[in-house]
Symmetry: C2
Subunit: 195 residues, 2 copies
């Protein structure tokens, strides 16, 4: 893999796992196996690196979600399930991915604004869709924007906080993951289904 991509990969994992401020360029460089100045050659400053990492992560997620939506059936609950399933795989494979998105909220707003702008169309489409399905009686009527946020909070929260699962005795085995995914799906289905 090209050096630039290896840097992006390592930075994504480290930033998402430990937080942007907690990870120094030296640590990333050591992880990748190059000198710090090689990082600064590819990304002129740490801010640039953060930016690039965010853009790459947003795009990766966008693509996955988009494909899932396209492939699913017409029923909104099935469609939502498809998205969750699609997000769950990369999120578990790389817990850092969603952790990174979350990291945005504590970054100086300028950095996050770019990401927000990138994701805005995706969000708008989702909200419009929810509204439409609620009107048609296929989802529990509610504020579609807030419902979208709540779903996001649930999925991201559960994917990025292994601690919260550990204290209830959950184990990250293959079987545990399946069980978690199924409970998550049942939870959201119940939360969204029409009365």
């Amino acid at each position: 893999m090209p050096t630039r991509d290896r840097i992006l990969d390592a930075a994504t994992d480290l930033f998402g796992l430990r937080g942007v401020d907690a990870v120094s360029l030296d640590v990333i460089a050591a992880e990748v196996g190059v000198a710090k100045q090689t990082l600064l050659y590819w990304f002129p400053s740490k801010d640039d690196l953060v930016q690039a990492v965010l853009v790459a992560a947003a795009q990766e997620l966008s693509v996955v979600i988009d494909a899932a939506v396209r492939a699913a059936t017409d029923d909104p609950l099935d469609r939502i399930e498809a998205v969750i399933r699609a997000v769950f795989r990369p999120a578990v494979r790389r817990p850092a991915l969603l952790g990174l998105i979350r990291e945005v909220s504590r970054l100086p707003s300028a950095a996050g604004d770019r990401l927000t702008a990138d994701l805005a169309p995706l969000v708008d489409r989702a909200v419009t869709y929810l509204q439409h399905e609620m009107d048609a009686g296929r989802l529990r009527p509610a504020d579609p924007g807030l419902v979208a946020s709540l779903c996001y909070a649930t999925v991201t929260g559960i994917a990025t906080e292994p601690e919260a699962l550990r204290v209830v005795g959950w184990q990250p085995s293959a079987a545990g993951l399946r069980r978690l995914r199924n409970e998550l799906l049942a939870f959201l289905r119940a939360a969204l289904a029409p009365v």
Copy 2:
């Protein structure tokens, strides 16, 4: 207020908002209006300060939740609603509080273990209670541990990520907060109610 408490307060807000690693002792000292060495007088090291902040936050939340549970009626959905309402107020007044709990997952495990131990009895009681109510048919049958984690993820996520709400056009006004709280309650009620 005594210096020690003022330090704890400021540290709670800053740690919860920006992350432990991102906040230096100098920043906290400046916020409180004392010299850095005054901090180190009260808390011999940054780790000690972090520890103290976590313990204080956990206790504050424990007390609030405990009171809410005691005061509520017998119906489990009402009881859960009471807890959410109780947590919502301090969480909104100080967004850092829940953010801090979340911060644990990225701390060196030793620091978080103490907090985990402190909260374990509370969690155990909640899980046992959920199990009991599910058996009695007053809640949707599911894995009570995972359901507890999912509720936690939803509440914490929505309270600590203003970004997720901003992108759907939500505003943190008094009316907005009420609307958010009500949607959150409806969401969880639907997710937990028996079929």
